[in-house]
């Protein structure tokens, strides 16, 4: 181990860590607002990358059909629920239509665009759009009616959603993996380190997203409303903040972040229908290390996970996964020793 090897490993670790950071942020975000431990975060990563891969072949990705199906189910649930509470047809149809409009628009666009073989970046934007509109629908179908349940119930639902999405991924994308073309295929050499254009894009996207999230939560009314829900759910509802709308908004953001991460790792590795889970799990380790509460904490922890993973695979590649996931033990120990229990459990 000399300086050049160490610097190559660090760079590799930070590049992966940047993706874990995005997922860690999304997991923290979803947990603080909705109390959902969002296991399926990784599935959005795989869906994002694979949807783009299928667009590349000029076919309509299966995710589009699932999107339409999911929208129909969500709309039906909404229709029934509003009808039950209000007994009037018009508001019920309006509520249902609100859920359907965007998915249908995106699907139609995707079905039209798929055979045209548009430039890579257009397809990338389209893939992100397809996966992003999954967010509110997944929330509506799986979580909304359980929103006041305990985190444990929501966690169990998450496991179910994870398995459902993985299985559907196998149906849509097949068992073999795909690799996407790089968005920026250049390489810079700085001393021993070789920096690829893709790595630069990954860093830039991570930083941009963090800044955007910060601006959103600090400056916009909706962002502040989400923060209010996160701090005190009942209080926020008394102030007229809808927890259901917040949940849908949060999952939209999570799906967006997931799809974006998928595009970022797609060109550097082969993505399979079930690749998302372990990638998401590493984001989860980072999020837990940050106590599922702190964004900067999750960012730093994720970069740490990436670097430790890189050095771990260099020194003891057979035990790499063990090293990464064992990291969580000392963190949990420290946290349990230093935590002060509050009476207000969300």
């Amino acid at each position: 181990m000399d300086f050049s090897i160490a610097s190559i490993l660090t760079l590799d670790g930070l590049t992966n860590g940047a993706v874990y950071a995005l997922l860690g942020l999304a997991i923290v975000l979803v947990f603080t607002v909705t109390r959902i431990i969002f296991i399926p975060q990784g599935e959005f990563v795989a869906y994002g990358a694979l949807t783009l891969a299928i667009f590349q072949t000029g076919k309509v990705p299966g995710t589009v059909w699932l999107l339409l199906l999911l929208a129909a189910v969500a709309a039906l649930m909404e229709l029934v629920q509003v009808w039950r509470t209000q007994r009037r047809a018009l508001p019920a149809f309006k509520a249902a239509a609100r859920l359907v409009v965007l998915p249908v628009l995106v699907s139609v666009l995707a079905i039209w665009a798929a055979p045209q073989l548009l430039p890579l970046w257009v397809q990338a934007v389209l893939s992100v759009a397809v996966v992003t509109v999954y967010g509110p629908l997944v929330y509506r179908v799986a979580y909304q009616s359980l929103e006041s349940s305990t985190p444990l119930v929501l966690l169990i639902v998450s496991v179910g959603v994870h398995f459902a999405l993985t299985g559907l991924g196998l149906l849509f994308f097949g068992a073999e993996g795909f690799r996407n073309p790089a968005f920026w295929d250049t390489r810079f050499t700085i001393g021993p380190v070789m920096l690829s254009g893709q790595a630069i894009i990954t860093f830039a996207a991570t930083v941009a997203l963090i800044v955007l999230l910060w601006l959103y939560f600090e400056r916009s009314l909706r962002g502040k409303a989400l923060r209010a829900i996160a701090v005190n759910r009942t209080g926020a509802r008394l102030m007229g903040i809808s927890s259901q709308a917040s949940g849908q908004l949060t999952l939209t953001m999570a799906a967006f972040i997931g799809a974006l991460s998928g595009l970022l790792i797609g060109p550097t590795t082969t993505v399979f229908f079930d690749s998302g889970f372990l990638i998401g799990l590493k984001g989860f380790v980072a999020a837990v290390a940050a106590g599922l509460a702190s964004y900067p904490g999750a960012l730093i922890a994720a970069l740490g996970v990436g670097v430790i993973e890189a050095f771990g695979s260099f020194w003891a590649s057979a035990f790499k996964e063990v090293i990464v996931f064992t990291l969580i033990l000392p963190v949990l120990l420290l946290r349990s020793l230093s935590s002060k229990h509050s009476d207000e459990d969300h």
Binding site: I5, L9, A175, E176, F272, D274, S275, S317
Partner: protein
């Protein structure tokens, strides 16, 4: 009175149908979901072409999914032997799952045709026969090729699972015998997003050849990582990587690398005197007619070979007893052991009492990737 008549009629029909139900029941356990689905799904495709009757007896296939999970595989096997009373179990395509099925099949005295190279010691595999080539048979072909290329040192980059371990165990002694040495052994997982650290360590050792042990499209990522680290030596891939996916994902980076393979997937390029050529071509035409051009697959070939094995063994076993009886099952086992030299699409098989692997060292074929196609070396 009428009711009694009906009852009798029903009873008679039921009896008659049980007699007709004495078909050959074959239980198939495959990984149709989970990480092993890339191997299980092609096998399932080929089973659609499985013969309807063998030696005049109707054949029923009962296909179950093991979700790439050994526990589920064992539970499936338990169901097949107790509920469905199968005469034979085929599966699984994953080594750990197949290993979990073996004790259940042995206990029920039912033959298991494993579709993966299971490393159960001789004696414990009394009721288990393997359809694929053992790793040492493939490693033999590879080491022979390395010897010709003048390779002295080998770097190993393989899966952290049984497949990687078995390959390392198979190639190390063979290489040593040929005067070569495995100088560095690194591991990675299928779900890893980067193998740069491992590639760094391997290229630092600078061996004459690298061996990548991975399957299907998963074999391309480590290969690319080694090339990206500026490695200029020879790169070898195993038979699980001998699929079009390697070239599809790997692109120009896998150009010029060597892949060991069973003969089935390169049917057309086999020399005319190769014993498997006719069957291999038959398999490839059948399979690609069903699934699509260029979709040939090592594991689908094992399904094809299973039918050949049964076609030969069932007539012998039928002399011992009717399908569905313990005598038939025992007869099937003895038939596999005594049926002798049998030509498969994947090579020449000869199971004996002491050897349930069966393939000879001449089975492995070395291929080279030239212009995105596999060429026989």
């Amino acid at each position: 009175m009428k009711a009694v008549k009906t009852l009798i009629a029903v009873a008679v029909t039921a009896l008659a149908s049980t007699a007709a139900l004495a078909d050959i029941n074959v239980g198939v356990i495959l990984s149709l979901t989970g990480p092993g689905s890339g191997l299980g799904i092609p096998m399932q495709n080929q089973f659609k072409l499985f013969p309807q009757t063998i030696a005049g007896e109707k054949v029923n296939l009962i296909i179950l999914d093991d979700a790439s999970d050994p526990g589920k595989g064992a539970a499936n096997a338990r169901r097949l032997v107790t509920e469905d009373k199968v005469d034979l179990i085929i599966g699984s395509c994953l080594t750990p799952v197949a290993a979990a099925i073996t004790p259940v099949a042995t206990e029920a005295k039912t033959v298991q045709l494993a579709a993966s190279p299971v490393g159960v010691p001789p004696g414990a595999d009394q009721w288990m026969f393997r359809l694929p080539q053992g790793n040492d048979v493939m490693a033999h072909a590879m080491v022979e090729h390395m010897k010709k290329q003048g390779v002295k040192t080998i770097g190993f980059l393989g899966y952290t699972d049984a497949y990687g371990e078995l390959w390392l165990k198979a190639i190390t002694p063979l290489a040593e015998k040929a005067g070569m040495k495995v100088v560095a052994a690194e591991r990675f997982a299928r779900t890893d997003t980067s193998v740069t650290p491992q590639a760094l360590k391997l290229t630092a050792a600078n061996p004459d050849a690298m061996l990548v042990v991975a399957s299907g499209s998963g074999a391309a990522m480590p290969h690319k990582a080694i090339v990206e680290r500026g490695y200029k030596g020879k790169i070898y891939q195993t038979h699980a990587a001998a699929t079009p996916d390697l070239v599809r994902i790997g692109g120009k980076d896998v150009e010029g690398s060597f892949v060991v393979s069973g003969p089935a997937v390169i049917a057309e390029q086999l020399p005319d005197n190769h014993p498997s050529k006719k069957l291999a071509i038959d398999f490839v035409t059948q399979y690609e007619k069903l699934v699509g051009q260029g979709q040939r697959n090592q594991f689908a070939g094992h399904s094809y070979d299973a039918a050949i094995a049964l076609n030969k063994a069932v007539p012998i076993a039928l002399k011992k007893g009717k399908p569905g009886t313990p005598e038939f099952r025992a007869g099937l086992r003895d038939a596999f052991e005594t049926m002798g030299r049998t030509v498969f699409a994947h090579g020449v098989m000869n199971w004996t009492k002491d050897d349930h692997w069966g393939y000879t060292n001449e089975t492995g074929v070395m291929l080279k990737v030239v212009d995105g196609k596999f060429k026989v070396e």
